[in-house]
Amino acid sequence: MELIVLGAHGTWPSAGGATSGLLVRHEGRSLLLDLGSGTVAKLQEHVGLFDPHGVLITHSHPDHVSDLYTYLLARLFTPERPPLIPLYLAPKVLERFTPLLADDSGPMRPQEAFDVVEVEPGTELSLGPFTIRTAPMRHSVPTLGIRVEAGGKALTYSADTGPADELVGLSRGCDLLVAEASWQTDGIDRPPIHLTAREAGEMAARAECDRLMLTHIRPYLDRDRSRDEAAGTFGGEIMLAAEGLSVEVGG
């Protein structure tokens, strides 16, 4: 199983970067996890625009979903209409996304391009070779943590979350944990809806994950410092997500 980072930045894109998006591939099948700003253009640098076999959106925040609009346009307005693929949505995503479609552009219903499936946290899904487990994360809106298994390997994607036992449970023993690290330890008292890099390391250590990839780092933060913070709590290999980075999960 291969993981390709399409968007590595939290909240807004850095210069040349994109917000949240991952592509998971195994034996010719692929799954998109989140579609933040700029990710549809990045996707096509790795696979065909219509190659993915499914899309999963972890929560309703626009830095994870805004290019779903772009992807919907592409799937609706390409003359050789591609077949419907599953679109798995966390609760509230459709509700928040639909007003964006309220212009005059004709039939802009997601249901015309996708098999739309709303997913309650805790649901288990199956798509081709992928077994997908979900768990509720601790964020300001309903958010799905995602564990994807294929070919005997497992990766977990935290989406956006504060420190959460549910994330430790979901990622237990996985080969790779892709964890958000929006913040660094700086003494500022914030609501527990995101992780510091140090906390991301703690999650990976408690879950006994093999490797940790930090993502969703705010564009203005020193990324090396994020890595150092996580290394203070997690002894395994730590990677920094970057647009275009490709990793063999369990490799």
């Binding site: 700003s37 700029g38 253009a41 772009t70 212009d103 005059d104």
Partner: protein
């Protein structure tokens, strides 16, 4: 004055591309014309987002304004407080993007931008800007930007119209949409072919023509050839990251 191409794709971006957007700079001042998906990322390769002096949006279709949203969030979380960014656009643009937010979020967004009625024209720093409504599916404003004795015009999305000549009269550079390669490629009304863009550039007496807003199936080299057959000036094809001096 110089213009940097931030995004060239109609509707959705191709590999490594972005939807509509341009950055116009003169003597340290910067205005963005349209901000489609992927353009905020490209803009920051040229200038920090907080140094923008104004944002000009041609119309409410999201391939021209969706990155207003990440810009909003970037401004919310900017380490120092920022004064509201002047936003000139036809009615409905701000609301189209603000639809992503609930009422509380929309209120916060309103505080980050100074939404201004463009009227017939306005000034931003060294730039003198005039507006011309052009025919599209929704209200669309063409912008003419002048500074330091140079002038450029940008169509946004438009069908064929005599108004384009008024917008681009004797400009050094006309930045024109050319959604379709030729008549056979027209999918919907309200856009131009490459040849039509060139005919308007010729009628307006523009110095050079920059073609942009290409549908995914368009062969850009072929579009340039078709335009060159109808316009004697230089025909350029927009490409993400390209910077062009205007009137130099």
């Amino acid at each position: 004055m110089e213009v940097t191409v931030l995004g060239t794709s109609a509707a959705w971006p191709g590999p490594g591309r972005a939807a509509a957007g341009f950055l116009v700079q003169h003597e340290g001042a910067s205005v963005a014309l349209d901000l489609g998906t992927g353009t905020l990322s490209n803009l920051q390769l040229r200038v920090p987002h907080e140094r923008l002096d104004a944002l000009l949006i041609t119309h409410e279709h999201l391939d021209h304004c969706l990155d207003l949203y990440p810009l909003t969030v970037a401004r919310v979380f900017h380490p120092e407080p920022l004064t509201p960014l002047p936003l000139y656009a036809p009615p409905g643009v701000f609301e189209a993007v603000a639809a992503l937010e609930d009422e509380e979020g929309r209120e916060e967004m309103r505080g980050l931008f100074d939404v201004r009625e463009p009227g017939d024209g306005f000034e931003v720093g060294p730039f003198r800007i005039t507006t011309h409504p052009l025919p599209h599916m929704v209200p669309n404003l063409g912008f003419r930007v002048e500074a330091g004795g140079a002038a450029l015009a940008y169509t946004g999305d438009t069908g064929p119209s005599g108004e384009i000549e008024a917008l681009a009269k004797s400009v050094d550079l006309l930045v024109s949409e050319a959604s379709w390669e030729d008549d056979d490629g027209i999918l919907v009304e309200g856009h131009l072919t490459a040849r039509q863009a060139a005919e308007h550039a010729a009628a307006a007496g523009a110095g050079s023509l920059l073609l942009t807003h290409f549908w995914q199936t368009v062969n850009r080299d072929r579009a340039r050839e078709l335009a060159a057959a109808a316009f004697d000036g230089e025909v350029l094809v927009a490409d993400e990251g390209l910077t062009i001096p205007v009137g130099a």
